[in-house]
Symmetry: none
Subunit: 418 residues, 2 copies
Amino acid sequence: MFNKNNTVELLCVGTELLLGNIVNTNAAFLAEEIAKLGLSSYYQSVVGDNAGRLEESIKLALSRSDIVILCGGLGPTEDDLTKEIASKVAGKQLLMHEESKKRIEDYFKKRGIKLTDNNFKQALIPEGATVLTNNNGTAPGVIIPYEDKFMILLPGPPGELKPMFYESVVPFLRKISPVIFKSRTVKVVSVGESVAETMIKDMIDAQTNPTIATYAKTGEVHIRVTASGKDEDECDSLIKPIIRELKNRFGNNIYTTHDEVSLEKAVVDLLLSGGLKVTAVESCTAGMVASRIVNVPGASDVFKYSLVTYCDEAKHKLAGVKKSTLEKQTAVSRETAEEMVKNLDAPLKSDVCVGVTGYADGEDAGHVFIACNVHGRVEVREFHFVGNRLKVRESATTQALVLMRDAVLKFLSEIAFS
Amino acid sequence: MFNKNNTVELLCVGTELLLGNIVNTNAAFLAEEIAKLGLSSYYQSVVGDNAGRLEESIKLALSRSDIVILCGGLGPTEDDLTKEIASKVAGKQLLMHEESKKRIEDYFKKRGIKLTDNNFKQALIPEGATVLTNNNGTAPGVIIPYEDKFMILLPGPPGELKPMFYESVVPFLRKISPVIFKSRTVKVVSVGESVAETMIKDMIDAQTNPTIATYAKTGEVHIRVTASGKDEDECDSLIKPIIRELKNRFGNNIYTTHDEVSLEKAVVDLLLSGGLKVTAVESCTAGMVASRIVNVPGASDVFKYSLVTYCDEAKHKLAGVKKSTLEKQTAVSRETAEEMVKNLDAPLKSDVCVGVTGYADGEDAGHVFIACNVHGRVEVREFHFVGNRLKVRESATTQALVLMRDAVLKFLSEIAFS
């Protein structure tokens, strides 16, 4: 059923994970790195610091995967059982590893901390195992061969696990991986997940290599294209025509074809390319639009300020919305949204202004108007979002970024042709 | 081996987890909530969008736990298999649930999005199952009975999973738990986790019933006290003396002893009790302070506006920081923070103003000044936060709320004794 030496399974050990005291970021880190290496992974598990259940979980993992990566449980306390149980499963004795023992002594000496006997427990290594040096802590990692499979034991703290993975585990896994995998993500706005899937159903149905999968995000759909090949070039040449076809189908609704680019990053880059400065006037989003823009490094080159005009008085005095508009049309109206973004000259000069006003809860919860002014061209959109207070505000923030992107793209193409 | 109806296992479904595209925050959330309910959990697993492996994982989970919570895979696409496979395991047919179908139609109608046929897949419910209403999305949850056990299927997006868990799953799990568990969370600020733990080490060591556990949050420590007993009254009487002792030890650094009260909610309530109106002037937090305050229902009774003065020009023109201060002391200085909050009369009158300025990245990343002005009494605090851009901004936001709380408490106690 599985290709030999091709499937990796993660088994994270620690009662603190079962209690939800900490988030399992190790699993996400390792999973991504394993996918990058082109190795398949079908299962991840978490088990507590319990000898019986840990043994049972290791046996299960070895029965269905070729490489089992165990993280956590390599500490000096009695709760730390991973090495002991893995050795038992492999039928190997634990022996004192003199080099690791010396490293532990040096580590404590250097920090002036008193060493206790149980610290040497960390220097015990199953016979026949490969020791992975820990340059950031006291617990060495180990690779234990088991029949034609492997168990790889890594320390739990991410600051020790990550460097050890890059230094020792990646070279080991590269050697035994038969193919390379590569993936690209196409990110789409203004189209729901089910519509997006319908639009590319034929491509999904026909997929073999590359594979195509859709992911729903708040206000976005991500389409991941993953190819396998003998090297990066082969993967790239398999991915390219798929990306081209997705661009044909989704056109401008694709804001990026790069994994690391967020919607706000795409908007900031677009503003930068046009040399445009942006400001915001926010009511229900209350700073979320500004906050997402500012989370892009280098945002200060395009973003000047946001007025969070939560009360009507602020909408009037800070953003210049007329009192009569607030009274007659109310604060949540097309007219108010329009007036919020009307003035690009005051209080500070800008090229683009985005405004959001709406109800985050109450009877009309989710009713939101978003306006964008690009050098006098004003567009207003009306939305009815669903969900709780935070969800409505997050949806409004995403749609404010989408409107900004659309309006700026339109403006830039107009001036290019004029 | 297991107490009937007492062990819960988590099975998260999604190839995106196996690929490490996303961190499994649902597992941490659910694990913590399950522990709060006094239910034991020995295993967590992740499996991809693959029919065979999903079926096998569900069967394994049902063989060793009483309640299996499945998250993810309830979407409208062909990849979404959870409901189909869970029904197959339970030997139940999927039937169209008219109420859910109507909810989906309304959801799309309200948003003016075109509905496609595959959306109705989400309204298919296994016969005999209990439907859990989704108020934040289109996928209903389901509880499927299986022999004397249960499968609980929840949607993957945290914004849908969390409210559904609180609204529908908590009451369900409470009903089937053989003993009553009750927990209270004491939330502490201005004290680190290891210091907090040391301060109550004797209490933790002596714990049996109630149990005491600490959880580190950004800028906060939560101390959870969990009692088991025959009814709520018995639990309450066990918890009360512990809470009293924690109050003795942490004093005013406890901002609440209620689970549902967030730091921003505590601040809003405090401002309300004093009849105080608040405004903010934010640079690096860029609206996050405003956004957290506004996320409290009823925030409009205390919050007026925030000026997100990201560029120096905005700090000068909008918030009145002197040009000479920005030039000599720079934008990230005690003096700038002070001037940001100086004027409580303009542009709008307020009683409290909080200001934040700092570096979110670069050489001095994490260096932040936070000022708070309560009717002319100004306090400034200096911080050196660690972490990436977002983490620094989140830490600064939390400390801005902490400073507001401290400053307002001080003001209210002063006027009470004057």
